[in-house]
Symmetry: C2
Subunit: 276 residues, 2 copies
C-alpha cells in the first residue's frame, strides 16, 4: 500500500492510498479518515460507496463527514467506483465502464477482466483496511450515494453479519427495473435477469434477505427520482418483509453533494449509535 497524501483535518488524518488489487488486477485508489484515538484502540468503520462518474475524491472533498467522524470516533473509508487505467475496458458513456462499476463481478467480456467491484469491496479492500488501519472489523456500517447507495444496500443485505448498520443517500434501489441498472447489469452480467437479483436491493429482499432496519434520505427535487431511483419500490419491499425502513423525502434537495453533505452527519450519528 502506497500513501498518496496525508492531511490533518478535523482532529484526525485524511489519507489517500493506492494499492494493487488482486480483485480487479489494477492499482486502486481509496481514502480513509482516521480520527485521533488512544494508542491501541480500534474504531468502528463506516464505508461510503460513491456514485456514477465519481472516484474516492468526490466524497472526500465534498462529503463533510470529518467533523462528525471525529466527534463520533468513526473511521470513514471511501473506495473508487471501478478499476481504471489504460489497460482497462471503457466506453464513452458516463453510466457504464470506468467510473460505473456498479459493485458487481462482471461475467461478460471485456468487463470480466477487471470489473470485480463486488469482490473488491466485499473481500479485497476490507482485508487491507483490517491490516493497515486501527479498524474494529466487528463494527462496520455501510452507506453510499446513488449507484453507491445501490452498492451499500446490496452489499449490506448480502452480508448482514458483517454490517451492523446500512444507510443510503438517493440510492438506486431496484436496478433491474430502471434504465441505469438494466444497462449495467446486462452489460456486466449478461441478459438473464436471474443473474441480476443478487445485485438488486429490492430483489434481494423479495428473495429473503433480511436486516432489522435501513435509513434512506432522498431529495424530492432529485432529477433522477422518478426514472432511476424509485424509493417507493424499496418501501414496498421493506413493508412486505417487515424491515424497518426510515425513508426521508427531503423537500427541495437534489442529487448533488449539496444534499449528501446536508444529511451526512445525521447518517453517521445513526451508524455510530448502532456500532457502539
Amino acid at each position: 500500500m502506497e500513501t498518496v497524501s496525508l492531511n490533518r483535518s478535523h482532529g484526525g488524518v485524511q489519507g489517500v492510498y493506492r494499492h494493487p488489487s488482486s480483485a480487479t488486477g489494477t492499482a486502486m485508489t481509496f481514502s480513509v479518515f482516521v480520527p485521533d484515538h488512544a494508542p491501541g484502540t480500534r474504531l468502528p468503520v463506516v464505508w461510503f460507496l460513491s456514485g456514477l462518474t465519481c472516484t474516492h475524491a468526490n466524497v472526500t472533498e465534498k462529503g463533510e463527514y470529518r467533523a462528525a467522524c471525529a466527534e463520533l470516533g468513526l473511521i470513514f473509508v471511501a473506495p473508487d467506483t471501478s478499476p481504471r487505467g489504460d489497460g482497462v475496458a471503457d466506453v464513452p458513456e458516463y453510466d457504464f465502464g470506468q467510473g460505473a462499476g456498479f459493485y458487481v463481478d462482471a461475467t461478460e467480456t471485456p468487463w470480466s477482466a477487471h470489473f470485480h467491484m463486488r469482490s473488491y469491496i466485499e473481500q479485497d479492500l476490507p482485508a487491507l483496511i483490517a491490516a493497515e488501519f486501527p479498524a474494529d472489523m466487528a463494527r462496520q456500517g455501510i452507506t453510499g450515494h446513488s449507484m453507491g447507495g445501490h452498492g451499500a444496500l446490496t452489499i449490506g443485505l448480502r452480508n448482514p453479519d458483517r454490517f451492523r448498520s446500512i444507510s443510503a443517500f438517493a440510492p438506486i434501489v431496484a436496478p433491474s427495473q430502471v434504465p441505469w441498472g438494466r444497462k449495467a447489469l446486462a452489460g456486466y452480467l449478461g441478459d438473464d435477469p436471474a443473474a441480476w437479483r443478487a445485485h438488486d436491493a429490492v430483489a434481494l429482499i423479495e428473495d429473503g434477505a433480511r436486516v432489522g432496519e435501513l435509513l434512506v434520505d432522498q431529495g424530492d427535487s432529485d432529477p433522477f427520482l422518478a426514472e432511476q431511483l424509485r424509493p417507493e419500490l424499496l418501501a414496498a419491499a421493506c413493508r412486505d418483509a417487515g424491515i424497518a425502513l426510515t425513508l426521508r423525502m427531503q423537500p427541495g434537495y437534489d442529487h448533488s453533494y449539496y444534499g449528501i453533505s446536508t444529511f451526512m452527519a445525521d447518517h453517521l450519528r445513526w451508524h455510530a449509535a448502532r456500532l457502539g
Copy 2:
C-alpha cells in the same frame, strides 16, 4: 445578474451567479449561500476571499461553511480571485495574473485594463449583494484564505466601519516582505513600495489602521508558513498597535481546505457573535 445554479443545502440555498462587473469590465462569477429566514428579514453577511489559483468554487465545494451559516443565520459570499476570460491578460505562473488578483486595483499595463479586484470587492459586488440578496449591509464580516486572507485583512483594516469582524486562515500578512506579495504588488502597482502599503496588513497597521481585534488560524505544518505567510509579523504589528490578535497555531495542519474546513465553523461563530 444571471443565476448559474441553485442547490438546496443545509437548510438554505447555495447559489452561483454571474454578472457584468463595472469594476473589472468582465463577467464575474461568485457564490452566495442564504439560509432559510423569515420573509422580510435581512441577515448578516460574511465575505470569504479565496487564495491563489482558486475561483468561488473551491470554498463553495470544500469549505464546509453551510451547516454553521444555517445555524447562525449568516449569508456567505464567495467571490472569484481575479477577472478571467480570453480578453484578460494572463501569464503561465500560478501566482500572478488570472486566479491571482491580490485584491488590488492594478496601475501597471496590461493589468490595469481589468485587474481591479479592490474596487470589485469594496464597491461593485457589495452593491449587487445589497440589491439582490436579503443582506443586512450594516452587519458585515470578512475572512479569507492565504492571498484571500491578505485581502480580508487589508480590506477589513481599510474599512473598519463596514466590517465589524475580520478573520483569516493562513493569511499573507505582509506581502511587501515575501516573494508572492512582492511579485504581485510590483507587477500590479509598480516598483515603488510606497504604493504597496495600502495593500499590506502589517504596513497598514504600522501606518495607523486600527480595529479592535483579529482572529487568525495558521497550521504549523503549512509549507508556506516561513517564507510567504509569516504570522509573527502580524503579531508584532498588532502588539505594537494594541490590536487584540488571536493567533492560533494549529499543530499538524497544512495550507489546504482540509485545514480551512476544520476551523470554518469556529470562525463563523466568532463572526456571528460580533455581527449580532
